[in-house]
């Protein structure tokens, strides 16, 4: 039971971190502004680095190195000791730090619903973007017909 709880809690945290990764810096600033977040200190100053993106041969085989992606990471500690982390594509330090603070806030049971509510507009915006993209793509769906050859 305890293990399952641990597992589902990790899943929920991953979902919140994924939502932060999909958010713009402004969206994260707006989410944080509504939460009256306590002060946070850097465990590690936001830092830009690389992650080697790997693919798989044939899409599902042995891995290979595709090339690197630039990544910004941040790690913060709130006054009450909660810690939070963020790893994002790109080079926006302020955005990664905001996401780390949201991750730290989410670690407290009491703050969890507030954080999730503050990020709900991001989820709605991302879902609307994805739906619009899917509709534009769907309009280009093609049905090819094979023609009989005249000489046969």
């Amino acid at each position: 039971m305890a293990v399952t709880d641990q597992g589902s809690q990790t899943q929920a945290r991953r979902a919140v971190m994924a939502l932060c990764a999909a958010a713009t810096g402004q969206e994260l600033a707006t989410a944080l502004a509504g939460l009256a977040a306590p002060g946070a200190e850097d465990i590690r100053a936001p830092e830009i680095g690389l992650v080697m993106a790997t693919g798989r041969i044939g899409g599902d085989g042995r891995p290979f190195n595709l090339g690197e992606v630039s990544v910004t990471r941040a790690a913060v500690r709130l006054a009450d000791g909660r810690t939070g982390f963020a790893y994002h594509l790109g080079r926006d330090r302020a955005r990664a730090r905001r996401a780390a603070i949201l991750d730290a806030l989410w670690q407290g049971e009491a703050d969890r619903p507030g954080v999730e509510e503050a990020l709900a507009p991001v989820a709605r915006r991302a879902a609307a973007d994805a739906a619009a993209q899917a509709r534009r793509t769907a309009a280009t769906r093609v049905d090819f017909l094979t023609l009989a050859r005249g000489e046969d």
Partner: protein
């Protein structure tokens, strides 16, 4: 031996100031922003990311601006930038089977589960110059349609053939550590993973020409495009301090599954074999050419005769990098005064000896 020169500092400084001014062009024309390059020269940005081997659209766009649009110079800037950064680790392997598709086509099956979508493509355009663009076009909004129910599940074409055993499976992960050509020099012969890393960052023109050469008969592989897909894929990474995978974000990639005829061998029945291409951004030409060359480079593994450049690992891998190639070619324009003086002396001496011989003979 190259002997260095010194001096010329003032001229070099002034040349760089002049470069900055020429880069800007006519000041009466508005300055290009990085966002404009990223959004409106997107395929050029993609090429710089692929050959720079760093996915970062804003950085690639800035590099293009600084390089006056010179692709190889922009690749140089991106590669130089990446050397200044620490590496946090390697991603979880990308799940291209689960990417959000913006384009998916097959030349082998017209009725694919999940369907074929053309997406934003130059294919089937008439290649007539649109002078309306020069005037500031009136944009017609993209058409929309309700996605069909089956659009969510889009298995790879190679998986469909694989069910009947008609195509070889992908080589399985045997757990041996991956070589990394950015960390250690390549030893030949090298494994397919190493080759794909080199091809993914290789010069598009060079890979294209080699792929083309296989079609024209220099290492023929009888290729069909099983599938080309373009879309965004999730990039996940397991930070040491967390111990579980986190989503870094999504990025656009292009994947090509090339399906090739194979007549079989003593051990293997006749079946289709595969070539694979995967690149940053939207570049079908590069992904397809990469898949052709990947398959050609498997010649010795498949017991095919080795007779063509595209089958020669060392030839392909040692020459496919645009930055290495330009470095060695363009270094020839740097001062070689001492080398050339030595050559000059040598030629004079040889001429004198030849003259002496002729006189002696007469």
């Amino acid at each position: 031996m190259y002997v260095a020169v010194k001096g010329g500092e003032a001229a070099i400084d002034n040349a760089h100031r002049l470069l900055a001014e020429v880069r800007r062009g006519d000041p009466a024309v508005p300055d290009l922003t990085v966002a404009q390059i990223r959004e409106q020269m997107a395929l050029l940005v993609d090429r710089v990311m692929a050959e720079g081997s760093l996915n970062d659209p804003d950085l690639a766009a800035l590099a293009l601006k600084q390089a006056r649009g010179d692709v190889v110079e922009a690749v140089f800037l991106v590669r130089a930038f990446r050397t200044t950064l620490p590496r946090f680790g390697a991603s979880v392997p990308l799940e291209t089977g689960r990417m959000t598709l913006s384009r998916r086509i097959s030349a082998t099956f017209k009725d694919l589960p999940g369907g074929q979508v053309l997406g934003p493509t130059f294919d089937y355009t008439h290649r007539l110059v649109d002078f309306g663009l020069a005037e500031g076009e009136q944009l017609e909004p993209a058409a929309e349609a309700e996605p069909r129910e089956d659009a969510a599940a889009t298995p790879r074409v190679t998986d469909l053939l694989g069910r009947d055993g008609l195509i070889e499976p992908s080589p399985q992960d045997d757990g041996t550590p991956l070589g990394d050509i950015t960390r250690e020099p390549v030893d030949f012969p090298c494994d397919r993973s190493t080759r794909l890393q080199a091809l993914a960052r290789g010069d598009e023109g060079f890979i294209l020409a080699l792929g083309y050469s296989t079609q024209r008969g220099y290492g023929r592989t009888h290729p069909f495009v099983g599938e080309v897909r373009v879309g965004t894929v999730a990039v996940e990474f397991v930070p040491e301090e967390l111990g579980f995978p986190v989503l870094l974000g999504t990025m656009q990639v292009t994947e090509c599954q090339m399906v090739n005829q194979f007549k079989g061998s003593r051990e293997v029945p006749p079946q289709f074999t595969r070539g694979y291409g995967l690149v940053f951004g939207q570049s079908e030409r590069k992904a397809m050419a990469m898949a052709l060359v990947d398959r050609a480079l498997r010649a010795s593994e498949l017991g095919e005769p080795l007779a063509s450049p595209a089958q020669d690992q060392e030839f392909v891998l040692a020459h496919c990098d645009s930055l290495q190639a330009t470095g060695f070619v363009e270094h020839l324009k740097l001062p070689h005064y001492v080398d050339f003086q030595a050559e000059l002396e040598l030629v004079r001496r040889m001429r004198a000896e030849a003259e002496d011989k002729r006189e002696a003979a007469e």
